[in-house]
Symmetry: C2
Subunit: 138 residues, 2 copies
């Protein structure tokens, strides 16, 4: 078997492992049929930190009613909640629940899980060797 194919195989296994981890996170949350778009909106909310309806409408280039509708749906899924500002009670902040955060960070957490497996399968010098090799690429 050629080096090329063996490399392909080991990397593919790594990707498959990561993918299984993210699927598990979705199913643990009971949200296996979320769309790519929905996940990316949760990511945007997460990245922005303090975000209001108007601001999210601006960022995502949607109208405000579209955002209201979307947030209502996320609320029904227990991914977000509304929090009124004390400074100016017209403002509503969109906050992620624990579940919402989990989904927003699904890629990150799945990769973390794979890294944990690596750490438990390789000793420290092997880990350093692997880091060194992967750093050389490109």
């Amino acid at each position: 078997m050629e080096r090329r194919d063996r490399l392909f195989e080991v990397i593919e296994n790594l990707l498959r492992a990561k993918n299984e981890c993210s699927c598990k996170i979705f199913s643990d949350c009971g949200l296996s049929d979320m769309t790519v778009k929905q996940v990316s909106y949760l990511k945007t909310i997460d990245e922005q930190g303090e975000v209001t309806f108007s601001r999210l409408a601006e960022i995502t280039r949607n109208s405000k009613p579209t955002i209201t509708e979307m947030i209502n749906k996320f609320e029904r899924m227990n991914c977000v909640y509304r929090e009124r500002s004390n400074d100016d009670r017209r403002f509503l902040y969109i906050r992620l629940t624990a579940k919402g955060k989990k989904i927003a960070k699904v890629e990150h957490d799945a990769l973390r899980q794979v890294i944990e497996r690596m750490i438990s399968s390789l000793d420290e010098s092997e880990q350093d060797l692997l880091i060194g090799l992967l750093k050389k690429i490109r």
Copy 2:
């Protein structure tokens, strides 16, 4: 910086590289806004090899008109074409065009491109070392 974080970083870079390759394949095909579902149908057609409308309806648990509609759309995108069977002229085979095949194999090809980069950045003994390390995981 901790080993954990350095590992995370190098693997994340690898994933990002692969992702950029698949995005490039989509945009080269002029099909940047394909849905996950559409790609998975093209994959199914590819995997089946010789597949008729009725058979695809069966596999995907859709009605035959739904398949006709879907294939018409794919035809407009230049991803598939119809080929009538010579044995029994009632049968129509769904065939992938070069573009259709490219999309069906997008994940595979993107990974191949990343592997090529690895091969050009690492010498043979380093490649073997990397394979050995990744094989040890789990």
